[in-house]
């Protein structure tokens, strides 16, 4: 009974977070904001929903744990690769963004080399 309640709570928690991440994908103004919304929210949401299914049906717990572990490993790698690739391929920041740490770091390295 208590496992049932915990499982359903985790599934709904994950579903709401997945929906909010998708809303951020549609509503945010540029690539980097969309990357942040679409990666953090969906990682937490998918992890929570999949572990919730495993708790609700305890014979499936091992395989759901493996799927959640794969998501937890591969999602930050792909988001990091996409962010670096879109910065280096020349995608502009939004015009109201105020800080660009990557550009500051490149200028600092240039000054030190001179």
């Amino acid at each position: 009974m208590i496992l049932n309640v915990i499982g359903w709570f985790l599934i709904y928690f994950g579903a709401v977070f997945l929906f909010l991440g998708a809303l951020g994908i549609v509503r945010f103004p540029d690539v980097y904001n969309r990357l942040q919304a679409g990666t953090k929210c969906t990682t937490l949401g998918a992890f929570s929903a999949i572990i919730g299914v495993g708790i609700l049906h305890p014979a499936w717990l091992a395989k759901t744990f493996i799927i959640a572990l794969f998501i937890l490993l591969t999602n930050p790698i792909s988001s990091h690769a996409l962010g670096r690739a879109s910065y280096r391929s020349g995608v502009k920041l939004w015009e109201k963004s105020v800080v660009d740490k990557c550009k500051e770091f490149a200028e600092c390295v240039e000054e030190r080399n001179e």
């Binding site: 579903a15 549609v26 969906t42 998918a46 395989k63 799927i67 591969t74 792909s78």
Partner: protein, 83 residues
């Protein structure tokens, strides 16, 4: 009844990311939307596996989670100039 609400919420998420993936201005936007679409779809496949009550359906979610990552990484390497 509660199945309908959970699967419906996640389905709306898949639809929103697909809209951004088909509409986005630059290719980086589309690829970000496809990346989060695969993560949301993995959760949807696991939930549908519990809905259909088949243990073998979890394998598809595993393969989906691993191999969509390869496509995202390949496109990212191409945009960076490598590959």
């Amino acid at each position: 009844m509660s199945w309908y609400i959970a699967i419906g919420i996640i389905t709306i998420g898949v639809i929103l990311t697909l809209i951004r993936a088909l509409k986005g201005p630059t290719p980086a936007d589309r690829m970000v939307a496809v990346d989060s679409m695969t993560t949301i779809t993995t959760a949807l496949l696991v939930l549908l596996g519990l809905y259909f009550k088949r243990y073998i359906y979890l394998d598809i979610a595993l393969v989906y989670a691993v191999l969509a990552f390869v496509a995202t990484l390949a496109v990212a390497r191409y945009m960076e100039g490598g590959l």
